[in-house]
Every structure is written in C-alpha cells, then in structure tokens.
C-alpha cells in the first residue's frame, strides 16, 4: 500500500467524468427502490428481485468494470503509467494499491447504496439488506481484482469485461445452470443467501464452493496483475 499512488488514483477516478457514471447507477437503484415503495409494491419478493436482477446482476458488474479498469487502464492508454513504473516502487505494490482503491470505490458506490435501497424497501427484515450489502461487497472485491487484471493485460478491457458480465453471467448463466458456478455475481448471491433468512432468496451455488472460489480468484488476479506489471511493456495503440 502506497499512499501517494492511492491519492493519485483517487484523484484520477473522482476528478473526471467517470464520477458521473459511478454515481448514475447507485442513484438509479435508490430511485427504483423509492419508486417501488411509492407504488406500495415494497415486499420481500420485490426487494429480493430488485437486489438480484439490478443491484448484483447489473449495477455491481458495471461498477466493478468502471472502477476496476478505471484505476489503471486510462494511465496505460495515455502512456503516463511510465512515470509511475519508473519510480522505485515495487510493481506488485502498485497493483495492490490500485486494487485497494477500486475496492473502496465499490464499497462506497455499490455496497452502501445496495444496503440503502434494500433498507428503503423492507427495513431490516430477515437481514435482506445486510446480506445483499455483504454479498455485493465481497463480489465487488472479486470483480475489482479480475477487472484490474484485465486492464493490465489488454487494451480492450472494458469490452471484454462487458462480454463476460453480459453474455456469460447473464445470458449463458440464465440458460445453463452450470455456467452460474463460474460467475462472480452468483458467488455474491450465495453469501447474501447465507446471511439473509428470507424465503424468497435461493442461491444456486453452494457456499462451500463460492467462498474458496472468491478467495482464489481475488488473490490470483491481484498477484497476476502485479506480475504482469513487472514485465510490462508499453506498446503503441492500434
């Protein structure tokens, strides 16, 4: 953890138009929760559906993508990463610092709004709010690690990340149950299911698989991102 690197990354993430995108999704989630409440449709089934399909199914992968690639990809794109890499800071430490920055962003912009939206709908009933907030935090950590790695490996990180989140996790995951075993959002849902006692929430992946998978994916991705940065070479754009 290097505080100077962290400070620069925060400024790059929050100082530009990226902040609008980071705010847009949580605001929409809370807006939907308020709307549902206003229409008097605020019951547990709706809350779980909103959390599953919107908070963890749509918002979390997108925010993970924006934050995870946003901490490093713009610098690589601009070529300014050279200035950072030429300083006597261990490259794995740079990767870990940027990962931690992305995680804090996801905690603020994804996990916290998830809790607020669920709380607006059902209060603290059956720990739905706490469960989904924890689930999205843990899944957000894994997303941040994976998308940070993608940002280091390829310049098309955002496109590939969207294809993973939309085609694999949503489209294929809806059709083939087996694909859900290898999707980060399902692992987050198992954690939510474990904490919450709501009868409407049914996780597809066993906790015994989800927790080790989350750990392995996160640690491996951050480690590999550090290794890739060690041998990083700046190639020209198209």
């Amino acid at each position: 953890m290097n505080t100077v690197v962290a400070g620069i990354t925060y400024r790059a993430l929050l100082g530009r138009r990226r902040i609008v995108l980071l705010l847009l999704l949580p605001v929409a989630l809370i807006g939907l929760a308020v709307l549902l409440r206003a229409f008097g449709a605020a019951d547990q089934a709706t809350a779980v559906e909103l959390m599953k399909s919107f908070a963890i199914g749509t918002m979390l992968p997108l925010l993970g993508l924006i934050a995870g690639t946003g901490v490093i990809a713009p610098e690589i794109d601009d070529g300014t990463i050279i200035h950072l890499l030429s300083k006597p800071i261990s490259r794995p430490v740079i990767a870990q610092t940027k990962f931690l920055v992305a995680v804090t962003m996801l905690a603020v912009f994804a996990a916290l709004p998830t809790y607020v939206a669920a709380f607006i709908l059902v209060g603290n009933e059956d720990d739905i709010a706490v469960g989904f907030a924890t689930g999205s935090l843990v899944a957000g950590i894994a997303y941040a690690a994976v998308f940070l790695l993608l940002g280091v490996v390829t310049r098309h990180a955002v496109t590939i990340g969207i294809i993973y989140a939309l085609v694999w996790e949503s489209l294929v995951g809806n059709l083939i149950a087996g694909a859900r075993r290898f999707s980060i959002q399902s692992w987050g849902q198992s954690i939510a299911d474990q904490i919450s006692a709501s009868p409407f929430l049914e996780a597809d992946v066993a906790l015994g698989f989800a927790v080790p998978a989350l750990l392995v994916v996160t640690v491996a991705a951050v480690f590999w991102a550090g290794q890739r940065l060690r041998v990083f070479s700046l190639t020209g754009d198209e």
Partner: protein, 285 residues
Amino acid sequence: MSEIYDIGYRHYDGPRLGRGYSTRALAVHSLRGVFGLGRPARSKIVPFALATIMLVPAVVSIAIMALARQPGIPYSGFAVIMQAVIAIFLAAQAPTVVAPDLRYRVLPLYLSRPVSIAEYVGAKVTAMTVAVFALVATPLTVMYVGELVVDLPGPPATGEYLGSMVTALLLALLLSAFGLALASFTPRRGLGVASVITVYLLASASVPIIYASMAVTGNEEAAAWAWLMNPFWLVDSVQSWLFGTPPHSIEGGYPSGPASAAILVVLIGAAVAALALRYRKAAAQ
C-alpha cells in the same frame, strides 16, 4: 510596409472534389474503422466475433425450417431477441468512431478544410448507422434467402422481411445517434464503452421492474408505457404500428401507434442535436 513575395510554390490546378467528396470519404473511413478494416487484426476481433454471433440464430432458424419444416425465428422479433449482442456491438464500436479524433486533437484539422460540423456529424452518424444496420440486416437476409431456398409450404413472409429491414434501419439510426452522442463526451475509448452500455443496461434492467411494480398495483395502462424506455422495444412498437406485427415484449403488449413513432422521432432528433451541440466547440475535450 509588408510585401508578398512569390517564392515559387506551384499552384494546385487539378480538379476540386468538393464537400460531398470529403464527407463521403470521412463516412467510408469511419465505417471501415468500425469493423477494424485497415487496422491491426486485434481491432477486427471484437466486431467480427459479434457479427458471427448474430449469424448463429439465423443458421439455427434455417436448420429448423429445413429439418422440422416449420417457421423459425420471426423476422420482426430478431432485433429484440438479439438486443444484448447489438448493444455490446454499439458500445464497443461507437467510441472507435469518435474518440480517436478527440483524443489526438485532429478535429481542428478536419474543420479547417471545407468539411463543416454538420457534415462531420452527419458522416459519423451515417457510418455508424450503416454498420449497425449491416449487423442486423445480414442475418435477416440470410434467413430470408434460407426461407426461399427451403421453400416452406405457404407463401414466403416477404412483407414481414421487408418491414423488419425498414425497422432495422430505424433502430440503427436511433442506436447510432445515441451511442455516438454518449461516446463523444469523452476522448477515452474505455470510458465511452462503459457509458454507452451503462445507459442501455439502465434502460433495459429497470424496465421489467418498473413494469411489474406498476402492473401489480393496477396501473396496467401506465405500465405498458414502461416498455418503451428500452430502445429495442420502442422500435418494436413502432414496427407493430407500421407493419402490424405482434409485439415482442416479455409479457403484456405495449402502446403502439403514432405516439411511439413520435417518441422515436423526438429521441433521434434530441440525440443528433446533442451531437451537434457537443461539436460546436469542436476541439474541447
């Protein structure tokens, strides 16, 4: 006192090709850029992979027609069924049309030539529209040719095919205008991709939730309008008004008629106006 010296530069006295030529050249160049033609192989992977994915249902549909002797995927519902792939194509490729010019600050160079802002924006929107239209129309045409070759009992659905082609053009225009307007606000390709897909997902993921909550509480009339927040369903409702095709929403019908067509026209106009406004100060990032 200043004086102009003739220092012997040769005059250009060849043909002047004019604004139409330069606008066309810009449009063709942008269109080639969307599919990565004239660029390294890495840039061709994503557009051509997505175009191939679009062809898979067409091939499956022909196989159903040939083997099971029954109609495959309806032409009118094709774009709605494949909306995720079309949206990813738009998000991934719209920034390649506008972002590099902003990023490398070449707009002042373009605009110091006879190309005006209106022509620049027109060329870019045309290029993206043609690209999205090709993405949707190719599988439709493949399916139609397949239907003619397989020769199912009964007349071929020529009317539905032609209607779906017109609809595909409307859809391509709406998506391109919006995609480019969103992508042109940042010189960074990655951020452009993220913003286009975010707006699409906001529209598509919130629609079923809004619909369900309104339908449950008895606002059936108002609930039906919620579908039109998704561009694909909006264009589908215009199609069902123009050509009398059945609606392809997930559940329940939606309002169709001049109102949805008016919304479509207003949205396209708003997106093009936003683009024109954005390029008023062309070099500003």
